[in-house]
């Protein structure tokens, strides 16, 4: 019996490239490089995020880390984390493209330090320019419908609305906005990025019709990151299967699943309350 009903043909297509996993995983905050590698393997992910930072030249950790990530065989998705203007993000994207030899970029332009909310105006400027320069842009954005429509107009073929602010683990904070997004932008993949804290929240995102999730903190800071990576992977598969299977309509009132016709002892039932 096949216990996992997401078929091999149910793939995720991002910018004309096909992936079988719907789980994008970050590479920060793990307790050790070995633990990170094991979590990546357990997750089944094919897409891992990473970044660029100033580092001490005497500690050549960057090269070892880079080699470790290359050894995973995953597609690399560099980010522009920490950038606050379009100019910064564009330049960091160019640096990433050269160093990692990839056109993929997770575009982050942060507008507020308190909740790390994307700056919609700078994000749109950066996305427009990077698309023109041939990047495959995955913008980290809010769940604002108009912003998302503008990003699509700019040429983004994938959007990554937040579930909740980065690192909060609060899940899908605004399901109304997110379901509106899914309904209005049905022709390109939407990936929930950030804010997911538990596997059930990831499953809920997939059940709503989102195409994938991207997360880091919930796995890396778990007591057992490898087990948590596996748990998220299973939840994502379950949520996707549930979505494909078609969820039942919610009802206000109860409706018996066992047939009423043929009910024994019906004449013993007390009269209904009026």
């Amino acid at each position: 019996m096949n216990t996992v009903n997401t078929s091999a043909s149910d793939t995720l297509t991002l910018y004309d490239e096909t992936f079988s996993s719907r789980f994008l995983l970050g590479t920060a905050l793990y307790r050790s490089p070995l633990q990170m590698s094991e979590a990546i393997q357990a997750s089944g992910t094919e897409f891992i995020t990473l970044s660029l930072r100033q580092q001490n030249p005497q500690k050549n950790d960057g090269d070892a880390f880079w080699q470790l990530l290359k050894d995973t065989g995953c597609q690399l998705l560099p980010n522009t984390a920490g950038c606050k203007t379009a100019k910064e993000a564009i330049n960091l994207a160019e640096m990433s493209r050269e160093l990692f030899e990839t056109p993929w970029i997770k575009l982050e332009v942060i507008g507020d330090d308190y909740n790390l909310q994307p700056d919609p105006f700078e994000l749109l400027i950066a996305a427009t320019e990077l698309i023109k320069r041939g990047f495959k842009v995955l913008p980290y954005c809010t769940d604002d419908l108009v912003l998302c429509l503008r990003l699509v107009d700019a040429g983004c073929q994938v959007l990554m609305p937040w579930g909740a602010p980065i690192g909060t683990g609060r899940g899908l904070m605004n399901k109304y906005h997110l379901s509106s997004l899914r309904e209005r932008i049905s022709h390109i993949p939407l990936i929930i990025d950030a804010g997911l804290g538990s596997p059930s929240q990831a499953a809920a995102a997939l059940e709503m019709g989102f195409d994938a999730v991207l997360l880091n903190t919930a796995v890396a800071t778990a007591d057992d990151p490898v087990l948590m990576a596996r748990a998220f992977s299973l939840a994502i598969q379950a949520g996707r299967s549930g979505y494909l299977a078609g969820l039942m309509q919610r009802r206000q009132t109860a409706s018996p699943s066992t047939p009423i016709l043929g009910q024994p002892f019906w004449h013993n039932h007390p009269p209904e309350h009026k």
Partner: protein, 67 residues
Amino acid sequence: MPNLTVNNHPLSVENDCNLSQLIIVAGYAEQTIAVAINGEFIPKAQYSHTDLATGDCVDIVKPIGGG
């Protein structure tokens, strides 16, 4: 003798020092890096003919984990 900053640390280099030479002086020779000067990305192919000037802010970055 131009006075620069490399990753926010002051550094003085010879007058005719170009970016390729600076990378060696700063200790990043043969490391996996990307470079920007004054916030502008400099492609590798341009390192050896990118001159440096007093006040330049050089950012040299390397891979690190990210979410």
